[in-house]
C-alpha cells in the first residue's frame, strides 16, 4: 500500500504577511498505519489534510508518495488522480442520491461493470453495518448511519490512503465510542493507511499507531501514543496530552535526577536531567501520578483546598508550602476532605522535566 513523505510543507492563507496555517511540516506517514494529527482548534489540522488531498497548493515543501511528487508549489496533482478517500466532518453525503448511489459513485467513475460494482457496494455496506439501507435517502438516516455511508463511499474504491477530518465529533458520546472501535477495526481489516484528524487526545491515544501533535501550524512531536503521552517533547505537548501541573524545582544532582521543590521537599530518581546543578527547571506532574498519604514528615507537605467528585475519580486541588497549586486524582472513596493536611508522593516514571531555556525533555 501507500505511504507519504511530507517535507517542509507550508501553507499561508491570504498572502505572505499572514501567519502560516501550516509551517514547515515534516512528517512520514507509513503504509498501513493509523496516523493521527492532533492539536487544538485552529492549529492547522484541516489545512494539512486538505494539502494531502490536493485541494490546496502548498506555498513551500513537497508531498511525495514513493518517488512520485504529489504536491509542490506551482504543481499539484488534482484530487481525482490521487487514489485517496476523504471523510468530511459533516460527512458530505450527497442528499439527492440514495445510500447505494452514494457508495457506487466512485466505482462508476472508475467504469467498473455494473454487476461487479453492485457486489462490491453490497459487501461494503455489509462491512459498515448498513446492509438493507441501500435504497434510503440520506435525509432518512441518523448521523451515525450517514457517517458510515461516508466511510463506505470512501473505502469501496479501495483507496491507498483514507483521510478523516474529525469524523466522530458530531456524534453523541456513546455512538462516538462505538464508531471509534469500528474505525480501528476497519483500518485493521482493510489495511488502508488512515490519516485521522482530531482535537480529542483520548481519541488519538485510543486509535492511533502514531500521533503527530500540531500547534500553531508547527509539528511539535511525532510518536506512538505512549511516547507522546509519557515523554512529551515540550510543555505544549505535555499540556495538551492531559492535565498537567507545572511546579518549579532546583536541580540538586543532574545525573542522578534529584531536585528540590522551591517550597521545600525533595524528589529523586528522575534520571538524567539536561541541566546543571543549581539550575531551575519546571516539573510537569500528571494528576494520576500524585499519591496522598497522612503526614509523617518524610514526604512533601500540602493542603487540600478543593475537591471535585467526578464519579470514577475525585479531582483534588492541593496547595504546596509556597502556595503553588498541584492537582491529584484519587479514588473517590479515599478520604481527603477540604482543609486536610497531607503529604504527597510523586511517581517519577511519568514525570516531565522542562529546562528554562525553552527546550523540553523527558528524563
Amino acid at each position: 500500500m501507500t505511504g507519504l513523505a511530507i517535507a517542509g510543507l507550508t501553507k499561508r492563507y491570504g498572502g505572505a504577511r499572514q501567519a502560516a496555517a501550516v509551517d514547515g511540516l515534516d512528517l512520514a506517514i507509513g503504509a498501513n498505519r493509523f496516523v493521527t494529527l492532533l492539536g487544538p482548534s485552529g492549529c492547522g489540522k484541516t489545512t494539512t489534510l486538505r494539502l494531502i488531498a490536493g485541494y490546496l497548493m502548498p506555498d513551500a515543501g513537497t508531498i511525495r508518495a514513493g518517488d512520485r511528487i504529489l504536491s509542490e508549489p506551482g504543481r499539484v496533482i488534482s484530487p481525482e488522480f490521487r487514489n485517496m478517500g476523504m471523510v468530511f466532518q459533516n460527512y458530505a453525503v450527497w442528499p439527492h442520491k440514495t445510500v447505494f448511489e452514494n457508495v457506487v459513485f466512485g466505482l462508476t467513475v472508475r467504469r467498473l461493470p455494473t454487476d461487479k460494482a453492485r457486489e462490491r457496494v453490497e459487501r461494503m455496506l455489509d462491512l459498515v453495518h448498513l446492509s438493507g439501507l441501500g435504497g434510503r435517502l440520506p435525509g432518512e438516516l441518523s448521523g451515525g448511519q450517514q457517517q458510515r455511508v461516508a466511510l463506505a463511499r470512501s473505502l469501496v474504491v479501495e483507496p491507498g490512503i483514507l483521510l478523516l477530518d474529525e469524523p466522530v465529533s458530531n456524534l453523541d458520546a456513546r455512538l462516538r465510542e462505538r464508531m471509534r472501535a469500528e474505525l480501528k477495526d476497519l483500518q485493521r481489516r482493510t489495511g488502508v493507511t488512515f490519516v485521522y484528524v482530531t482535537h480529542d487526545q483520548a481519541e488519538a491515544l485510543a486509535l492511533s499507531d502514531e500521533i503527530a501533535v500540531l500547534h500553531g501550524g508547527r509539528l511539535q512531536q511525532v510518536g506512538s501514543p505512549e511516547e507522546v503521552y509519557r515523554r512529551p517533547a515540550n510543555r505544549i505537548v505535555a499540556d495538551f496530552m492531559g492535565l498537567l501541573s507545572i511546579v518549579p524545582a532546583r536541580v540538586l544532582d543532574a545525573a542522578a535526577g534529584e531536585v528540590e521543590l522551591e517550597g521545600g521537599g525533595r524528589i529523586g530518581g528522575i534520571g538524567g536531567i539536561a541541566a546543571r546543578m543549581g539550575d531551575i527547571v519546571d516539573l510537569g506532574i500528571r494528576p494520576e501520578d500524585v499519591r496522598l498519604r497522612p503526614p509523617d514528615g518524610r514526604g512533601i507537605a500540602a493542603e487540600v483546598v478543593d475537591r471535585v467528585y467526578l464519579g470514577n475519580v475525585a479531582d483534588v486541588h492541593l496547595a504546596l508550602a509556597d502556595g503553588r497549586r498541584l492537582r491529584a486524582q484519587i479514588h473517590p472513596l479515599d478520604p481527603a476532605p477540604v482543609g486536610a493536611r497531607v503529604e504527597i508522593e510523586i511517581d517519577v516514571r511519568h514525570l516531565s522535566v522542562f529546562t528554562r531555556d525553552g527546550e523540553g525533555g523527558a528524563p
Binding site: 485517496m84 468530511f88 463511499r153
Partner: protein, 578 residues
C-alpha cells in the same frame, strides 16, 4: 398558562382584569387582520369566480365556453404562454451564468453584477418598453434609422414591435429572479459535497453535472418559473410593445374588454384562465421545487473553491458589461435623451430642450395630482400591507390557533394574481356593494394592499424567523402584558425587517400600472398611468420627461430609506423576494 392567569387573578383582582382586557386586545387585532384579508383577497376572488359563472340564465360556463372557442381569446392565451416560456428560457440563459460567475468564480465585478440585477428588477418594464420603442421602433427608432439610412444595412434593423421584442423587454425585468435563486443555491452548497466527488475520481465537469447541478436544480427551476409567471402577468410592456404589433395577450385582451361596453363576465373568465396558469406554476414552484431544495448549511460549511477565470475573464467581463448596457444604461440614457429632445430623432442632440420638463411639471395639470396620488397611495399601501403582513406572520408562526395555515396560504394567493386580474376582481366585488368606490383613490388602495400583502407577510416572516420566541416569552414571564411585549420587544426587533418590507412594497406600488390602468379616473390618476397615457397619446418626449421625474422620486425614496436604515437595507430586501 391558564392556571397561572387564574391564580394571579384570584390573588389580585386588578391584575386579573388587566390580563383579560389585553387578551381581548390580542383577539381584536388578530380578528381585524383576518377580516382585512377576507375583504381584500377572499371576497374579490369569490366575486370574480361568481362573475365568470354568471350566464344570461343563471349560473353556467357560457363565458368560459366563449373564451376557449373563439380565436379572439385563444390566440392571446397562446401568445401569453409563448411569451412566458421564451422569457423563462432566456432568463435562465442569462441568470444562471451570471449567478455562477458571482457564486463560483473569482470575477471581480460581483458588486456590479448585483447592481445590474437589482436595477433590472426595480425598473418598471413599461419604462424599459418606452425606451426600447424609441430605439428600435420599425420606422422612427433611431438605431433602426441609423443602420438603415446611415449604414445602408437594412437587414440589421430590429423591429421591437414583435414577439421577440416583447421577450427581450420582459426578460430584462425577469432574469433577476433566476439569478437571485440560483446564486443563493450555488452559494449554499457545501464545498465538501463537491470535493467528495472529486477525490473519488470525478473531474470538474462530471462533478458539476452529477453533484452541483442536481443540488441547485430545484432553485434554478423555481426561479425560471417565477420569471415565467411575472412575464405573463405584466401589463405595461405587453400593451406598449404588443398592441402596435397587434399581438394580443391575456392581460391586454382583458383590458380591451373594458373599453367599449365592458364585458365583465368574459373578462372574469379570461382572468380566471390567466390565474390558473400562474397559480399552477407558483404551486409547482412552492410545493414541489422548494421542498426538493436541499438546504445544505453545514456547520463547518466550507465555501466553495472559487474557479480562477484566467483569460476567460475577458469574455465574462464583456458579457456582464453588455448586460449592464442593455439592462441599465440603454433604457435610462434613452429616456433621458428623449426627454431632453425637441423632436426625438437621429439628430436629437442638436435641439436639446427643457421644454418637456416645463410642460410636465408646470403646464400639464395632471402631473401634480398624479404625483400626490402616487405618493399617498404607495405610502398607505406599504404601511397597510406591512401591518397586516406582520400580524398574519405572527399568527402563523407564534400561535397555535387551529387552521392558521389557511391564513398563510390565502395571504400568498395574490402572488399568482396578475395586477389586471386583481383589478377585475376588486371592481367586480365593490361594484356589487352599495359603497360608491368606483373612480376613487380608495378602490386603488384596496387593490394595491391586496396585491402587496404577500410581500408584507414575507418581510415579516423573514424578520420573525430571526427573532427567537424566547425573547418574547421571557418578557411575558416577567409579567409584561401582550401590549407591552409587542411595544417593547417584538416591534423594535422586527422594525428593520418591516422597514425593508415597507420599501419593498412602496417602490413597485409607486410605479403600479397593471391594476391602476383599469381602476383610475381623472381624479385618482397615478404617475405610472399618466406616463402611459402621455405615451399612448403620442407625446413620447413628454412621457419620457415624466418617466424621469418618476424615477427621480423613486430614487429619492430609496436613498432616504437607505440613509435611515444606515445601509443594512439591501441585504434584507434581497431575502424577501424568495
Amino acid at each position: 398558562m391558564e392556571t397561572v392567569h387564574a391564580a394571579a387573578g384570584s390573588r389580585r383582582c386588578g391584575a386579573g382584569r388587566r390580563i383579560v382586557t389585553h387578551a381581548w386586545l390580542e383577539v381584536g387585532v388578530t380578528g381585524a387582520a383576518v377580516a382585512a384579508l377576507v375583504v381584500l383577497v377572499v371576497l374579490p376572488i369569490a366575486s370574480l369566480l361568481l362573475g365568470s359563472l354568471t350566464a344570461s340564465d343563471g349560473l353556467g360556463l357560457e363565458h368560459f365556453h366563449r373564451a376557449l372557442s373563439s380565436s379572439l381569446y385563444l390566440r392571446p392565451l397562446v401568445n401569453s404562454l409563448i411569451l412566458g416560456s421564451w422569457t423563462g428560457l432566456v432568463s435562465l440563459l442569462i441568470g444562471l451564468p451570471i449567478a455562477w460567475l458571482v457564486a463560483r468564480t473569482d470575477i471581480r465585478a460581483k458588486g456590479f453584477i448585483r447592481f445590474t440585477a437589482t436595477m433590472g428588477y426595480l425598473t418598471p418594464p413599461f419604462l424599459t418598453s418606452i425606451a426600447f420603442a424609441n430605439l428600435f421602433g420599425p420606422n422612427a427608432g433611431i438605431v433602426n434609422v441609423f443602420v438603415r439610412d446611415m449604414l445602408g444595412l437594412p437587414w440589421l434593423a430590429f423591429d421591437i414591435f414583435s414577439m421577440s421584442g416583447m421577450v427581450l423587454v420582459t426578460t430584462l425585468h425577469a432574469f433577476p429572479f433566476v439569478y437571485l435563486l440560483a446564486v443563493g443555491a450555488l452559494q449554499s452548497i457545501d464545498a465538501s459535497l463537491e470535493e467528495s466527488a472529486q477525490i473519488l475520481g470525478a473531474g470538474r465537469l462530471r462533478t458539476a453535472l452529477t453533484i452541483t447541478l442536481p443540488l441547485a436544480a430545484p432553485a434554478i427551476l423555481g426561479g425560471t418559473l417565477i420569471a415565467f409567471v411575472s412575464a405573463i402577468a405584466l401589463f405595461g410592456s405587453q400593451a406598449i410593445i404588443g398592441l402596435p404589433a397587434r399581438i394580443f395577450t391575456l392581460p391586454t385582451r382583458i383590458y380591451a374588454l373594458f373599453q367599449y361596453p365592458p364585458q365583465y363576465g368574459l373578462a372574469s373568465a379570461l382572468s380566471l384562465i390567466l390565474v390558473t396558469i400562474t397559480v399552477a406554476a407558483l404551486y409547482l414552484q412552492r410545493a414541489y421545487l422548494a421542498r426538493r431544495a436541499y438546504v445544505t448549511l453545514g456547520g463547518q460549511g466550507a465555501r466553495a473553491h472559487l474557479v480562477p477565470l484566467g483569460h476567460w475573464r475577458w469574455p465574462a467581463h464583456g458579457f456582464v458589461l453588455l448586460l449592464f448596457l442593455v439592462v441599465v444604461a440603454m433604457p435610462f440614457a434613452t429616456l433621458l435623451a428623449v426627454s431632453l429632445s425637441k423632436p426625438w430623432g437621429l439628430a436629437f442632440w442638436q435641439h436639446l430642450t427643457l421644454a418637456n420638463y416645463r410642460f410636465v411639471l408646470f403646464e400639464y395639470d395632471v402631473t401634480r395630482r398624479a404625483i400626490a396620488n402616487g405618493l399617498v397611495l404607495a405610502a398607505l399601501a406599504a404601511t397597510l400591507a406591512v401591518l397586516i403582513g406582520a400580524i398574519i406572520a405572527r399568527i402563523v408562526q407564534r400561535t397555535d390557533i387551529p387552521g392558521r395555515w389557511v391564513l398563510d396560504y390565502v395571504s400568498l394567493v395574490p402572488l399568482g394574481l396578475p395586477g389586471i386580474v386583481m383589478a377585475v376582481a376588486v371592481l367586480q366585488f365593490w361594484l356589487a356593494t352599495p359603497f360608491p368606490l368606483y373612480g376613487t383613490l380608495a378602490i386603488l388602495l384596496l387593490a394595491y394592499v391586496a396585491r402587496y400583502v404577500p410581500l408584507g407577510v414575507r418581510a415579516a416572516d423573514v424578520s420573525l424567523r430571526q427573532i427567537d420566541p424566547s425573547l418574547e416569552q421571557s418578557a411575558r414571564t416577567l409579567g409584561a402584558s401582550w401590549l407591552v411585549t409587542m411595544r417593547e420587544i417584538a416591534l423594535p426587533l422586527m422594525r428593520p425587517g418591516l422597514f425593508a418590507g415597507w420599501l419593498l412594497v412602496f417602490v413597485p406600488a409607486i410605479q403600479e400600472l397593471s391594476a391602476s390602468i383599469l381602476l383610475f379616473s381623472s381624479g385618482s390618476i397615478t404617475l405610472a398611468v399618466a406616463v402611459f397615457n402621455l405615451y399612448e397619446s403620442g407625446l413620447s418626449e413628454q412621457a419620457c420627461a415624466l418617466a424621469i421625474v418618476n424615477m427621480a422620486i423613486i430614487g429619492a425614496a430609496v436613498a432616504v430609506a437607505h440613509w435611515i436604515s444606515r445601509g443594512g437595507l439591501a441585504d434584507r430586501m434581497q431575502a424577501v423576494p424568495q
